[in-house]
């Protein structure tokens, strides 16, 4: 065997039920009996979405998909395919869905094997600045199908039965939103793509647009047709110049080829899209604030109802969805709602894109079926925590989400289960936190962000987050007082209930969830003036140990003159003078200074 084969076995729930583990064992046995162990790579993948035809086995190179495989087929597959290089034709299944068609071009199977790429189906595959590339991968076919053979109500029914929910974070059923907008009688309606991605550490929308801007456009045109709108607007932040440039190019190319503009593809339907740049205010990701911003007003939310579907941009019915939601639409149209709704959990269908960042080996962008566990994402795809450190928590949903500790790693990802655990799905930011991070400081960081971004319109958010931030700052500086935790909880719950928009309603989440799961750390900060992660500078004490060689290096760098000692003798730190800058700790060559 000159070729090194890679075999991927689907280990999704359905295939597992159909004995994928036994097949794996049979394969190992067969390879061993032929002396081929270690000469073939075997990996288990998450659900590949071909459940009806499972168990599924994919052999690379060549991307041969075998379906309905049993233990008894293994000797034949090994003999014919791996040894004689003749695929076993009776087991081969044809897969013509849009997702994952390009797995064969990904060499790094371990990273991609567990993913299921629907929204990102073309990202990293096509040239995002070339319409031809998009057309070659069945681009704009969904639009053509809709215009050829579907009435607007058919499209809405399809999206509704797909079970797709808003990927911006709140998870409102997309089809229902479309129906509500379509129901309104109005000459003028608008379709908006919310690309105002603002969570720290999140870059799903940017990557989607930079990798495949056409899918988003196609989704929007289909949406426009379904609700009876002729004008689409993409609201994207000015900090994404490349994404903006690629969108502009894509819009122009699509217009030139008749996919946008008047009388699209000779169907009589007209629709055009323009881009509006946002200045990067976090609150403008909230739909009513975003609409105000497009109208030229200050980006501030307003009470709902009326919802944008009734009274949106320029007081006209408006359909507003997030980038990832739009990118899913062409797949639902082409592969069908029935297929789409077969993926995921009972209440959350399809996949979700996550931007994994923080203390993790493979930082990156992944798309997994709903129902995948946090553990699978962080340890199987993400590769776990680097430098042998211990996992402490994972933060999902950005500044609106919460931190979940190790006990929640087996939580299945969907809107409900994450909410139940005290976090949210959010738009897909996922920050992994290791033992070196202080949970109080993390909560403080996120609250500082939302506090800065609070627009100031409603009192609970404007004043409440400010007071919470003051308390948190006090705690991290070692000035916490008995009762602070309760105060934070009371304030947090009040802000959640009384704020006008999603920003305020979710701003206390990082604090409340860390109190819920890491209350002991808060208590240590307050009662013992101790930060176990040695992160809060004011709570750290530096001490010189017996290892001190008396080199005096620390004494020389100390800006406060807090270190004294005779050369070649152990030095000492005067805690009263120490300003906890940590210079001595960094300077010491003997590891003689401890942080306690």
């Amino acid at each position: 065997m000159a070729v090194r084969y890679q075999i991927t076995l689907c280990d999704g729930p359905t295939c597992m039920h159909k004995r994928s583990k036994e097949i794996d064992a049979a394969l190992e046995r067969e390879l061993a009996s032929r002396g081929l162990s270690g000469k073939v790579d075997i990996s288990l993948s998450g659900c590949l979405g071909m459940c009806a035809k499972g168990p599924i086995m994919i052999v690379n190179p060549g991307y041969t998909i075998y379906g309905g495989v049993s233990e008894n087929d293994i000797p034949e597959i090994v003999e014919k395919h791996l040894v004689r290089k003749q695929p076993v034709s009776r087991l081969i299944i044809e897969e013509d869905h849009l997702y994952n068609r390009f797995f064969r071009v990904f060499g790094d199977v371990n990273f991609f094997g567990r993913q299921m790429r629907i929204a990102l189906r073309n990202c990293g595959i096509i040239d995002p600045e070339n319409l031809d590339d998009y057309l070659s991968v069945r681009g704009y076919e969904a639009l053509a199908k809709v215009l050829s053979a579907m009435k607007p109500e058919d499209v809405i029914a399809e999206v509704k039965s797909s079970g797709l929910r808003g990927r911006g974070g709140a998870g409102f059923p997309t089809g229902l939103k479309w129906e509500l907008t379509a129901r309104e009688e109005s000459e003028e309606k608008y379709v908006i793509c919310n690309a105002d991605e603002g969570d720290p550490g999140a870059f799903m929308d940017r990557s989607t647009i930079e990798g495949d801007p056409f899918s988003v456009l196609e989704g929007m045109i289909v949406g426009g047709y379904a609700v009876g709108a002729h004008k689409g607007i993409i609201y994207i932040r000015a900090e994404y110049p490349l994404a903006v440039k690629r969108l502009e190019k894509a819009i122009e190319a699509s217009r030139n080829e008749g996919f946008l503009g008047t009388n699209i593809l000779d169907s009589g339907f007209s629709f055009d899209i323009e881009i509006r740049l946002g200045a990067g205010a976090f609150v403008c990701g909230e739909e009513t604030a975003l609409i105000h911003s497009i109208e030229g007003h200050r980006g501030m939310p307003r009470p709902r109802p009326p919802y944008p579907s009734v009274q949106g941009l320029f007081d006209k019915p408006t359909l507003i969805n997030n980038v990832e939601t739009w990118a899913n639409i062409p797949v639902i149209i082409l592969d069908g709602a029935a297929w789409f709704s077969s993926i995921g959990t009972e209440k959350s269908k399809g996949t979700k894109v996550f931007a994994i960042a923080g203390k993790i080996k493979n930082t990156g962008l992944v798309e997994v079926p709903m129902g995948t566990t946090l553990r699978q994402i962080i340890f199987d795809i993400g590769g776990g925590i680097p430098n042998g450190k211990k996992f402490k928590a994972v933060q999902t949903g950005g500044p609106s989400g919460g931190c979940l500790p190790e006990a929640y790693l087996d939580t299945k990802i969907d809107y409900e289960s994450l909410a139940q655990a005290g976090s949210i799905m959010g738009s897909g930011g996922m920050i992994v936190i290791d033992e070196d991070s202080c949970m109080v400081s993390i909560a403080r960081f996120f609250l500082e962000f939302t506090q800065n971004e609070s627009c100031g319109k409603c009192t609970p958010c404007r004043e409440g987050t400010k007071r919470m931030l003051e308390i948190l700052t006090r705690i991290t500086e070692g000035k916490g007082a008995e009762g602070d935790i309760e105060k934070l909880e009371r304030l947090g719950n009040m802000i959640k209930k009384a704020s006008l928009c999603g920003l305020g309603q979710s701003a206390p989440n990082p604090v409340l969830s860390t109190i819920r799961h890491f209350r002991d750390e808060y208590e240590e900060h307050i009662k013992e003036r101790k930060c176990r992660a040695h992160f809060c500078a004011r709570l750290v004490r530096y001490e010189i140990t017996d290892k001190c060689a008396g080199c005096a290096a620390c004494r020389k760098v100390c800006p406060a003159g807090a270190i004294s000692g005779i050369v070649k003798n152990r030095h000492e730190i005067d805690q009263a003078k120490c300003i906890k800058c940590g210079l001595c700790y960094k300077t010491c060559k003997f590891g003689a200074i401890n942080k306690v």
């Binding site: 690379n60 990273f111 995002p128 600045e129 319409l131 031809d132 590339d133 057309l135």
Partner: protein, 118 residues
């Protein structure tokens, strides 16, 4: 009447023949990641190396840019695709490494194992 679906199918056929006309069926296809993140990591310099090599007559290679595939910590990425073989994906590619990929992989067919993303 010609339906929108017919129009799109025709356009797709034309698009594919244009792509083939640009040399897509070459024995080797090289893709350089060019999203903001990859460019920030230095992929423009890498792309330049390949572009220069093609300008100077490197034959049998189809060069294209692509968006981000999600390997943030390994960017810039370069992918060499050959029909019937498992694609080779290089990570953290610099301009110097790109030069080596041109010389050793694209010209001599050697996969530079140390740089391949596992």
């Amino acid at each position: 009447m010609v339906s929108p679906l017919d129009i799109v199918k025709k356009k797709r056929a034309e698009a594919i023949s244009r792509i083939i006309g640009k040399g897509y069926l070459a024995p080797k296809r090289v893709y350089v990641g060019m999203a903001t993140c990859e460019i920030a990591a230095g992929s423009k310099d890498v792309m330049e190396v390949f572009e220069k090599a093609v300008r100077q007559g490197l034959a049998g290679v189809y060069l294209s840019q692509k968006g981000c595939a999600g390997r943030c910590n390994l960017e810039p990425t370069v992918e060499v695709v050959e029909e019937g073989r498992i694609p080779v994906k290089y990570g953290k590619v610099t301009a110097e490494m790109a030069q080596q990929i041109v010389e050793r992989h694209l010209k001599k067919g050697e996969t530079i194992k140390d740089w391949v993303i596992k």
